[in-house]
Symmetry: C2
Subunit: 378 residues, 2 copies
């Protein structure tokens, strides 16, 4: 059943005959399975006119009417809730600043009423919530669904997030490192639809990475795969929260960058100073780009992706300099590979992780439909 759903996702609209050809399943099997999925409200039939003679064909696609997916991104300075249908259309998006709010208790005083309202409105409309996907600063202890020791995120260490959400909202819940949800957003809804190997890098207070290899998100042994912010860029550099020294995050994150600039204290002030040609600001951005360049060479030589996506609150500052960075970067890559690497902005901007949180649930539906659907009524 998974293979059918993945093909339908890939083609958006597809006939049963094409499904038979692509999957190698018998047409009887396809008919039975798609019948069940239509009854459940996962798929629906659409009529399409095809070919020169205008023959009508019945096409299958995801049904956007019944099921809803909720994506929740819990960030260090804000949270966001989005509601999606099964086609990936964003139906609703709510974002709240949480500057100065600390720890899960204070966060959920704001999140809980918001999420409760969202849930009630969906149910009042006769729709059904397939599940809740959550992105949050990792690393995460996946077996227990709790947070391990997220750097720069006081109060959350050891918090049993998954269990708490399941008890409070009675929804199928998945949690994931927000760098990895951002990669998922790209994999299922963004540029990754046609790309099997990508690395998504989120730059803000911290620097995170999500790695997709052969179409699948990679967690590693301890959920640390893709911690690109914690590669050593400055040998014997500053101590980092993670335990290492000279991590890219210590020099390339927003706090890292601002620590090299004495004339102001915000990213926006720095951006203005750069435009005005203030010498210290120019030196600061030059160094930042040099660190980014070295980091991206490493990402390329270690993961060898087709596509690197850059996002996060820092991205708008860097975006203006990307055209100058790309040729410098290319000159440092293997000659035969340098023209094949694409570097693009993350598709969903500041909503990347919330969209990716919803993508978690879509990925669950596509890979384990029977299990996810059996959880709906338990």
């Amino acid at each position: 059943m998974s293979e059918i759903l993945e093909r339908i996702w890939e083609y958006r609209q597809i006939s049963r005959v094409e499904l038979v050809e692509l999957t190698g399943l018998t047409s009887g099997t396809i008919t039975n399975l798609t019948h069940d999925l239509i009854q459940l409200g996962i798929l629906r039939e659409n009529e399409a006119i095809s070919g020169n003679v205008g023959r009508r064909r019945v096409m299958l696609g995801f049904d956007p009417r019944f099921y809803r997916i909720i994506g929740l991104d819990i960030g260090r300075t804000s949270f966001e809730i989005i509601v999606m249908d099964l086609n990936g259309t964003i139906l609703q998006s709510i974002e709240r600043e949480m500057n100065g709010v600390q720890g899960p208790e204070a966060y959920f005083q704001v999140i809980t009423p918001t999420l409760t309202t969202v849930k009630q409105e969906i149910e009042a409309a006769g729709e059904k919530i397939l599940g809740l996907g959550v992105g949050i600063p990792g690393p995460i202890h996946y077996e227990s669904g709790s947070l391990l020791a997220p750097p720069n995120f006081p109060g959350w260490k050891g918090y049993p997030l998954k269990q708490m959400l399941e008890q409070q909202f009675d929804l199928v819940t998945l949690i994931e490192d927000d760098a990895r949800t951002s990669a998922m957003a790209e994999r299922w809804y963004g540029l990754g639809k046609s790309v099997q190997n990508l690395v998504s890098i989120t730059m803000g207070t911290g620097i995170g990475g999500g790695v997709v290899t052969n179409g699948k998100i990679v967690r590693g042994t301890n959920g640390l795969c893709g911690q690109v912010g914690h590669m050593t860029i400055v040998l014997d550099g500053k101590m980092c929260d993670c335990g290492n020294r000279g991590c890219w995050e210590t020099v390339g994150s927003i706090p890292g960058i601002l620590s090299r600039w004495s004339q102001g204290s915000t990213l926006m002030e720095l951006q203005t100073a750069i435009r005005q040609g203030e010498p210290e600001a120019l030196r600061c951005i030059d160094e930042t780009l040099a660190y980014l360049e070295a980091a991206l060479v490493n990402v390329q030589n270690l993961y060898d992706p087709e596509l690197i996506l850059l996002g996060g609150r820092l991205f708008p500052l860097l975006a203006e300099h990307l055209d100058q960075l790309k040729p410098r970067l290319q000159s440092r890559l293997y000659a035969f590979a340098k023209d094949r690497l694409r570097i693009e902005p993350a598709t969903f901007g500041t909503s990347q992780s919330a969209v990716g949180a919803a993508a978690l649930m879509l990925g669950f539906l596509l890979s384990e439909p029977v299990r996810l659907l059996s959880l709906q009524d338990s």
Copy 2:
């Protein structure tokens, strides 16, 4: 059929009843498939006495009698040929120094007669060669089976290795980057048998890496995944053959290390000088260990493996200092993960890549038995 072979490889000896339980296939299917594999000489039945009552059970295992796998490693200064049976036992090993020999033509003047003799002896004994696996300095253009631009390996650029070997020896042939064959050796014959995520690092004239994720070797988009030698360790450091600056290879490989020592020109001389406490030699090894430490932190934070394997001609020098390196390294890793990372010497020493070249063919047999066997008589 693949699933059955993988289970048998995993358990070495297993009964049909256990195969039914593990695979979920019917006992009829298991009986038919294993019958065919026994007829073909891939599997054989063994009797085992099990349990307290001494009941006899028929166990299935790989048949070491009929099929042979040849592994060929072509290195910058030597080549090695090994012959293996289907249990992974090394039956024969031939190694030749090739110092000063340059380019494929000169190499094959020595390799061809040696490999021809090996092949003839196997066939004269009534055995059959399943295939030839080859490890060579990458990167490799996999579609054409030719070499791309191997650094420090003059004359080999663009060489159509796979095609040439197939024509000359009429054997099913697979070629792979030697860093990746080394990882394959570990995955199928070494410590990786029980580990799904590992990184194998080979240090010699160059520094290469092979990455196994979820039990599978990862190549990346251009066959560059795992190029750990080409991560930037020294910001704005020396130019590297690959195009990047300050690569780990420029400071951590044998030539990189010896360039910091003025009192001699070989690794053995350096090792002696270190033991005698010669100050420049001590500083040189300290720096080498600091680079290794930073590189291993990066490998851990980017790939998050359970196991890092270290090998290559440089390893014996480093081995004496590993006990001092490990606690320093651990102190720089995420606290919750630091005790879970194992660092071990590569299992097969200098034969790692040749064993891995044979492992390529074993991996082919386990994952696509029908295709590989159909190639035997074509």
